[in-house]
């Protein structure tokens, strides 16, 4: 028999399990244009929905007249808050414990806010009808600055009872949302007072947007005959959407089916619940027909899911030798008109308290004040675990600012403050238990790879040349060492709307030794259908090519909290491994029966169970699968299936060391990335090809954010960056090639030691690009300049420093 002659290496390779650069199963349909995205869905009789949106950032609504729109041929309905009020759906709860208008109820709070929902025969008629809805506004004073908002007499949220607590405790002012405090304030302030050196800076992480290439959308179809509601949508958390829809609509959960089909990128944009989803559901219930709503790009950038907008005031205390003794941070968080941040319930500022970064900082204090302004709601985690990019950007800028204050090398300053390998599991001053890490090894490898010493010598020479008039280009060396916190999370402290953040996997092995596994997550390009099959292949000894992975259909997949915050591999990946182990445990009993030995006398070996000490006696997993369906085995049920719901004991803490080498033309402000080296440690590596792809993509999104991508408003609350003309997405032309590298420090608590990687390059990339820009000007007296570093702002920095002669 073939198995007898196949080597163990060949058998392992044949599985295409952990560590294999397996080509993606998804790609066959995508490369042939046969993906199935929400806007590709076409149901018989389907109507199209479109929004009337507010041109004002803050205004009272005097009247809405839809008569002309309703008179237009092809218009079926125009919904306003008045129509939704009897259903209790004119407002909806947000993920942050606040509530948000589905359709404007008396006033609008940001430009682009949803005012009325038009339902028509096709998208053209719907757009025509939007123009015919007459809305009379009375404009109100606009506030776009969170500091001003906290001083203003203007009450933005008239619906909130003055003086009453918010979802996260007392509110200090009518435009204040919450104060969140972590750490030891008193001791930190004392340390700062007594410190030999204190570096201070206001670090602003500007407002931006995840901007996936596919915008948000939904198709809702109410089947009144059977009482079943089906919703196709761009949902990063389809199961949670089903529960929310059930709670809001009163339709029993078993009568609701939510399907996330192929998703054209998410990056956090598709975590939130948006008025468009609610309105398409209501419109389908009202009209009895399927209703499609897909936002256009301008609507996407103006109204769904901004990210960041954190003003982080920092103080870092150290000894003269550079040992950090304390960290203090006060953040003013601009949440826009409604607090719709997508964070676990108990974390109104997400995991911002990872802001001690990779450093052994004995004492720290963090306070975050959330503030209402006349900007869009959102506050999603754009390619990061909840507010982790903000936290890491903050600490990685503060380290640089401290290095300048101490006049020391920033690489060395990091090194002497790193958490040491022997300190893991490490308790951080702000309450996290870091699972594992080996920062010094990663840092040394990175610095050696780029010849760090050589780079600094070259940079010093460049400064001399610049001063001597031999060049107009400065050179910046951007450094970053980041630690992420991902894989939310333990049910004991992580939930969204009361739903614990476990995840799940259900496996069914077919008689002929192939399988289907379903998970509670949903891929948006991460390649789950490829990688989860690899985890299973290694666990159950069947080839990945014989395992189908399915996600996103709540009627078939087990309940899970979805894909964001790099949680799929840490949580659902763990569930997959655990479910695989249940399959293996049953397979062991079947194998023992077939081999006529005791259960304990067989052991798993790659793709089979062998009799201990007699490897020539074995049953392959394929044979065992068949036996599960065709043999009556005493004491064992037929079939071979398993399900696992995994509640992780802790988060995982991926880390990495990045170096960016940049040339900056001081006369044009144009930065040129000469080299970018990225070392990532995501624990056990499932598919190196996919990891590398994730790193390339995350770094490019980081480049975008650091070098120009922003959602900007004027003083009247007009969005100035509402199209891809103004909102910066890098093309192939301005994107560099990246060098990737890795170390492997497995997570001690994850079943296969994996930590997650999709967001690391974004978290580490943003400070690395920004540090490179800042570093280029360090020799000329610059301590800190705010992102985004677009050409104009870089030119202004050069000009301010007197570099234009």
């Amino acid at each position: 028999m073939k198995d007898d002659v196949e080597s163990r290496e060949d058998r392992t390779a044949g599985l295409k399990g952990l560590g294999c650069a397996r080509r993606r199963v998804e790609d066959l349909r995508f490369t042939q244009g046969k993906g199935n995205y929400v806007d590709d869905i076409k149901l018989p009789g389907m109507l199209h929905g479109d929004f009337v949106r507010s041109p004002y950032a803050h205004a009272r609504i005097k009247s809405i007249d839809a008569s002309a729109a309703l008179a237009l041929d092809g218009v079926v309905a125009v919904l306003t808050a008045e129509d939704l009020a009897p259903l209790g759906l004119h407002w909806m709860p947000t993920l942050a414990g606040d509530k948000q208008m589905v359709l404007a109820d008396g006033k609008v709070l940001f430009q682009g806010q949803e005012v009325a929902f038009v339902v028509a025969r096709d998208r053209y008629v719907a757009a025509d009808a939007v123009e015919l809805v007459e809305v009379e506004y009375e404009d109100l004073p606009v506030i776009t600055d969170p500091f001003e908002s906290l001083k203003s007499d203007v009450v933005l949220r008239e619906d909130l009872e003055p003086g009453a607590d918010g979802a996260h405790g007392p509110r200090k002012h009518h435009n204040h949302i919450f104060t969140w405090e972590v750490g030891d304030k008193e001791t930190t302030e004392q340390v700062l007072e007594e410190a030999e050196v204190v570096a201070e800076e206001m670090v602003y992480y500007h407002r931006t947007h995840p901007c996936p290439l596919e915008t948000c959308g939904a198709v809702a179809s109410m089947d009144k005959v059977n009482g079943k509601l089906t919703i196709y949508g761009t949902f990063q958390a389809p199961h949670a959407v089903r529960t929310v829809v059930s709670l809001l609509s009163g339709i029993e959960e078993h009568n609701i089916r939510v399907i996330s089909p192929d998703i054209g990128g998410g990056f956090g944009n598709k975590v939130g619940v948006y008025p468009g989803y609610v309105c398409s559901v209501v419109a389908s219930i009202v009209t009895g027909k399927p209703v499609k709503w897909v936002e256009d790009r301008m609507e996407n950038l103006m109204s769904t899911a901004f990210a960041r907008d954190y003003w982080m005031q920092g103080k870092i205390a150290a000894t003269r030798e550079g040992k950090i003794t304390g960290l203090w941070c006060h953040t003013t968080a601009d949440h826009g008109g409604f607090d719709a941040c997508a964070d676990p319930t108990k974390f109104p500022a997400g995991f911002m308290n990872i802001c001690t970064g990779s450093y052994d900082i004995p004492v720290a204090y963090l306070a975050v004040d959330g503030v209402y302004t006349n900007k869009a709601p959102g506050g999603v985690s754009y390619r990061c675990s909840f507010r982790v990019t903000e936290a890491i950007y903050f600490i990685e800028r503060m380290i640089e600012v401290l290095a300048i204050k101490l006049n020391v090398d920033a690489a060395e300053l990091r090194r002497i403050n790193f958490i040491r390998k022997d300190q893991f599991p490490y308790q951080s001053a702000l309450g996290w238990e870091y699972d594992s890490g080996d920062y010094h090894t990663a840092w040394d490898k990175a610095l050696a790879a780029v010849d760090y010493k050589g780079l600094r010598e070259e940079q010093a020479q460049r400064v001399e040349d610049f001063k001597a008039g031999k060049t107009r280009k400065l050179m910046g060396v951007g450094l970053t060492f980041f630690t992420e916190i991902v894989g939310a999370g333990p049910v004991k402290n992580c939930d969204i709307l009361g739903l614990g953040m476990f995840d799940s996997c259900e496996i069914r092995i077919h008689p002929t030794g192939s399988a289907i596994a379903r998970l509670g997550t949903i891929s948006q390009g991460q390649g789950h259908a490829t990688t989860f099959a690899q985890i299973l292949a290694s666990e159950i000894g069947l080839p990945a090519d014989s395992i189908t992975i399915e996600e996103g259909d709540t009627d078939t997949a087990p309940y899970g909290l979805g894909t964001y915050g790099s949680r799929s591999t840490p949580v659902a990946g763990a569930a997959t491994a655990m479910a695989g182990r249940k399959i293996r445990a049953k397979a062991q009993m079947i194998a023992a029966y077939l081999l006529e030995v005791h259960d304990d006398d067989v052991e798993f070996d790659i793709d089979r169970f062998v009799v201990k000490g007699a490897p020539e006696r074995f049953k392959t997993m394929k044979e065992i699968a068949f036996a599960a369906y065709n043999q009556a085995i005493p004491g064992i049920e037929p079939g071979l299936e398993a399900v696992s719901y995994y509640d992780p004991p802790n988060m995982t803490y991926p880390f990495g060391a990045y170096v960016c080498v940049m040339d900056i033309d001081v006369d044009t402000g144009v930065p040129e990335i000469r080299r970018f080296y990225a070392l990532d440690d995501c624990g056990t590596r499932i598919n190196p090809m996919i990891i590398e792809g994730q790193v390339h993509g995350g770094l490019t999104e980081a480049l975008a954010v650091a070098l120009g991508q922003e959602i900007a408003y004027d003083d009247l609350g007009n969005v100035k960056t509402g199209t891809l003309m103004d909102f910066f997405l890098p093309t192939a032309w301005e994107t560099p090639n990246y060098e990737t590298d890795h170390t492997v420090t497995p997570s001690p608590h994850h079943p296969i030691g994996a930590k997650g990687v999709g967001e690391s390059p974004h978290v580490g990339g943003v400070p690395c690009f920004s540090n490179a820009v800042n570093d280029a000007f360090r020799a000329f007296g610059l301590t800190h300049t705010q992102m985004p570093h677009d050409h104009w702002r870089i030119w202004k920095t050069a000009n301010r420093l007197g570099l234009h002669g």
Partner: protein, 164 residues
């Protein structure tokens, strides 16, 4: 509303004929009338290239062309570039070199790259990057897209040489 216009197209080799409003965009005619949902709408302003199709031998952003303007044209979409049994070299190369992730930009990317390699069969990396700058990708960082296109070019050229 002005009268509907009589539009004739040849799409992926098949003759199509229908009445359309003058304002109907080519992308919606393809996606909603002809059910060719490979090309996607990503931005509505000609920036992202997800809607790229080939019209009379040129790559065009079909979100900013009226279908009436394409009257009489020969159009090729991603659906016409290969078949499940016979993938084009670019379709194979994008998979082999991990040139895609969410897949939303991929039809436009492959369509544009098809034309690029017809116009310049031996591009340098720089020429590929410049020639693809009208197509945005949010997932891959382009590195593997460039790699895929260069690999496909090499394969096409090797096949040509072998045939000669």
């Amino acid at each position: 509303m002005p009268d509907k216009m009589h539009v004739k197209l040849t799409v992926n080799g098949e003759a199509q004929e229908f009445l359309a409003e003058p304002r109907e965009l080519l992308i919606y005619a393809l996606r909603e009338r002809l059910n060719l949902t490979g090309p996607h709408v990503g931005c509505d302003t000609s920036h992202c290239g997800a809607c790229t199709v080939i019209v009379d031998g040129k790559t065009v952003k079909s979100c900013t062309l009226f279908v009436a303007q394409a009257n009489g044209a020969e159009i090729t979409t991603i659906e016409g570039l290969g078949s499940p049994d016979d993938l084009s070299p670019l379709q194979r190369a994008f998979r082999e070199h991990h040139g895609l992730q969410c897949g939303f930009c991929t039809p436009g990317m492959i369509t544009r790259a098809t034309k690029l390699l017809e116009e310049n069969p031996t591009p340098t990396e720089e020429e590929v990057r410049f020639g693809m700058a009208g197509n945005l990708c949010r997932c891959t960082g382009y590195q593997n897209i460039v790699k895929s296109i260069l690999a496909a070019a090499a394969e096409i050229n090797a096949a040509k040489e072998a045939a000669e």
